[in-house]
């Protein structure tokens, strides 16, 4: 009988939660925003999403085959990256933008640094910033069948009036997934209820950002201005889905709050004083780079530390 027993060091039980279920939940949580993006921008958006997701998954698969490593596309993390990247592209972008972005995100940002869990920068955002710098005119052209002209955030920056109701619903110009505040918040609530993300980062991020624009925005505490800033651009998508990316945010609880505060301030600076209207992607990427430092200074105090021995 003895040769049939399995032995291992304790604990001997494990929770049911796996990396796959977490990634699948994130994908489900992104579906409202994705669905609204397709509804809002039509078939071109759908095609761009499919191409981008296919390119991220395929890049990971081919890289791992080529390097003779175990294939890990089954954990769905490449799907999440592809989907997030696609939601950050303008619907009018050509298909090859999705391909280049997907390859850059997976190959350069993720796999070359060691694959899942080793990248220091959010792959989707890294790719987006790369595309913004390399193909600026494509990435900042939000004209499509449904909308022409500037994004609401650009209008806000220029001091022109915007329709806040449409901004909250999402019926405005912008990238595929960022326009609908409601769809994003529904997905985020799903993740919060499942306990996959919590409010530490999004909460401190949004709160800091609001305080920052109240002080420096030149509008004081103006609800219309604040809601336009919150609903416009990639703030909601960034705060709930990109800043909370496990791999590239601090692991310590206080570090997460610090991270959120940093992002809030940086986004405020980029949006108010930068040349463009948007600054969420750059803020998060900058924040990603400071994560090791933030983790170091927010190392938690262990239980009972400082107690006196008698």
């Amino acid at each position: 009988m003895s040769d049939l027993m399995k032995v291992s060091s304790n604990p001997h039980i494990r929770s049911k939660l796996t990396t796959n279920t977490i990634m699948a939940a994130v994908i489900i949580a992104l579906l409202p925003a994705t669905g609204f993006g397709i509804y809002n921008f039509g078939i071109p958006a759908l095609i761009l999403i499919l191409v981008t997701v296919a390119s991220t998954v395929l890049t990971e698969f081919l890289y791992e085959k080529l390097m003779k490593k175990p294939v890990t596309i089954g954990d769905f993390s490449a799907v999440v990256t592809g989907l997030l990247l696609a939601l950050n592209l303008p619907s009018g972008a050509p298909w090859w933008i999705g391909v280049i972005g997907g390859v850059f995100a997976i190959l350069i940002v993720k796999m070359l640094f060691g694959g899942l869990g080793q990248n220091f920068m959010n792959p989707a955002l890294g790719a987006r910033c790369f595309l913004m710098l390399s193909f600026t005119s494509i990435m900042t052209n939000f004209d499509c069948d449904a909308y022409t002209g500037a994004t609401p955030l650009a209008l806000v920056k220029a001091g022109e009036p915007v329709d806040i109701f449409n901004m909250v619903i999402g019926k405005t110009a912008g990238t595929i997934g960022e326009t609908s505040m409601i769809a994003i918040v529904i997905g985020a609530c799903f993740l919060i209820l499942l306990g996959i993300i919590d409010l530490r980062i999004p909460g401190s991020y949004i709160l800091t950002f609001v305080i920052f624009i109240c002080i420096f925005g030149g509008h004081g505490i103006d609800p219309a201005y604040i809601s336009a800033q919150l609903a416009g651009g990639g703030l909601m998508l960034g705060a709930f889905f990109m800043a909370t990316d496990y791999v590239t945010r601090p692991i310590t609880k206080n570090g997460q709050i610090l991270f959120g505060i940093f992002l809030g301030i940086m986004t405020g600076i980029f949006r108010l004083f930068g040349p463009g209207a948007e600054g969420v992607s750059y803020s998060i990427i900058l924040g990603n780079l400071l994560v090791p430092l933030m983790e170091k200074i927010t190392l938690p105090k262990p239980f009972g530390k400082g107690g006196e021995k008698r």
Partner: protein, 438 residues
């Protein structure tokens, strides 16, 4: 009232329904009884019998081998068959006294006990020491040392650990339901040692019947209080228990006495009671035999030294082939490869599972999700510590509070990547502790 609890912790499937409603059954050993000389923390006991000697139930067979040590008593009458190394639950071979049971259970005459009021504090501690009582929750620390802190007048709480937070285990629950008075009397013995102390019976709130029973029985006891704790693993871990009941936090280098507390688990308190009020040494303990592979899971009152295999037979044998057998609970117990080992003073359970989670799930890359940080009751960063442990980065391991880990296993349990975090941290801690000893 807010629930008494701590920060962190997990909610695993508790499996207690398998065995909790069946009364404790007494088992008589069939084969030889084996008494490892080291079934406590500290120096191994020294045999005082030789091969061929006839012994009676309750007779001293090995005396304490040092200050931190405990004597061992025969739990049956019979003949000493051998004194030789035998395998124990941890897989080690430990020098053991083997007694052939004559089946007569002739018992030694115990001294007529004096009432508690007539005993001095020194006499009480001496009786606990003589009876070989050790922490029966698993650690096996000699209880008389716990009961004699440097400054006894500073002890404010005597806590009976009735949390039983470990999944599947129901031995404390059954003991409390069937013999609650012994527990309360044992706690009174402890309180007799510490004039300023309050007694606390700390029970998890998944045992409401037990809480009610103990409350009824202690309503006229001015010094004893029943406290309901939130059900969460590791609620019964000493540091978490003290925090939940008193709000005091102690770290790894402190003892409960530093926070004015003495903590003992249910079986230990009952053993203190037997030692002081009945002059009876520690010879029995309750063992839960359970798991989905066992035909009739239940609790047994076992003569220490009985072979585990006999307990499995008593519980109806296996209804399905087990894949893993654990001595103790699933969070803190030892996986064993052979059931042909003796029960000891610290053997709380025998858990037979048809399915082994650990081998079914392969570790994958860490995604830095931080769930280990969320659940860690020690408030360290298990992910980082495990990385340092894996890379033998001892300096960083210590600098990042690696020694504050209490090895409760929550991080390994929760990890979605199924990484063996606790195991890595545990081995690094062992190395550090071994270095300190040198």
């Amino acid at each position: 009232m807010a629930k008494l609890t701590f920060v962190g912790g997990i909610h695993p499937y508790d499996g207690k329904e398998l065995s909790k409603d069946k009364p404790i059954k007494a088992v008589l050993p069939k084969g030889d009884l084996v008494y490892p000389l080291s079934q406590h923390i500290g120096a191994p006991a020294k045999p005082v019998v030789a091969k061929g000697d006839h012994v009676l139930t309750g007779q001293l067979i090995a005396e304490a081998g040092g200050f931190v040590s405990a004597p061992i008593y025969a739990s049956v009458s019979g003949t000493v068959k051998a004194i030789e190394p035998r395998r124990v639950v941890t897989g080690d071979n430990v020098m053991s006294i083997v007694i052939e049971n004559d089946g007569l259970y002739e018992e030694v005459e115990y001294e007529t006990p004096k009432p508690l009021e007539e005993l001095s504090k020194e006499e009480i501690i001496e009786k606990v020491k003589k009876a070989g009582v050790v922490g029966m929750g698993g650690a096996g620390f000699p209880t008389f040392i716990k009961l004699s802190p440097k400054e006894p007048e500073k002890i404010e709480y005597c806590i009976a650990n009735c949390a039983e937070c470990e999944p599947y285990l129901t031995s404390d629950y059954r003991r409390m339901m069937e013999e609650p008075q012994k527990l309360i009397d044992g706690l009174k013995v402890m309180l007799a040692l510490f004039d300023r102390a309050t007694g606390i019976l700390a029970v998890e709130d998944n045992k409401p019947d037990c809480i009610k029973l103990l409350k009824d029985l202690t309503k006229d006891e001015p010094r004893i209080f029943v406290k309901a704790l939130k059900t969460k693993y590791p609620q019964g871990a000493e540091r978490q228990l003290i925090y939940a009941t008193t709000g005091r936090a102690i770290n790894s280098s402190m003892l409960p006495a530093d926070a004015g507390c003495i903590v003992d688990n249910v079986d230990t308190v009952v053993a203190i009671n037997a030692a002081v009020r009945e002059n009876r040494p520690l010879m029995h303990r309750i063992v839960t035999v359970t798991g989905d592979a066992i035909a009739d899971p239940r609790n047994f009152i076992v003569r220490i030294g009985t072979n585990y295999a006999e307990l499995i037979d008593e519980a109806g044998g296996f209804k399905e082939q087990p894949e893993k057998i654990i001595s103790g609970g699933p969070m803190m117990g030892f996986g064993i490869f052979d059931v042909n080992v003796p029960t000891t003073k610290t053997a709380s359970a025998l858990l037979c599972l048809t399915h082994d989670d650990v081998s079914a799930m392969q570790p994958t890359a860490c995604i830095n999700c931080g769930m280990c940080v969320e659940v860690c009751p020690g408030r360290v960063v298990p992910k980082k510590l495990a990385d340092y442990a894996e890379n033998y980065n001892e300096e960083a391991f210590v600098a990042n509070n690696g020694m504050e880990c209490c090895e409760c296993g929550c991080c390994s349990f929760i990890c979605p990547a199924k990484r063996p975090l606790t195991q890595l941290i545990k081995s690094a801690r062992k190395m550090q502790l071994a270095k300190k000893k040198k």
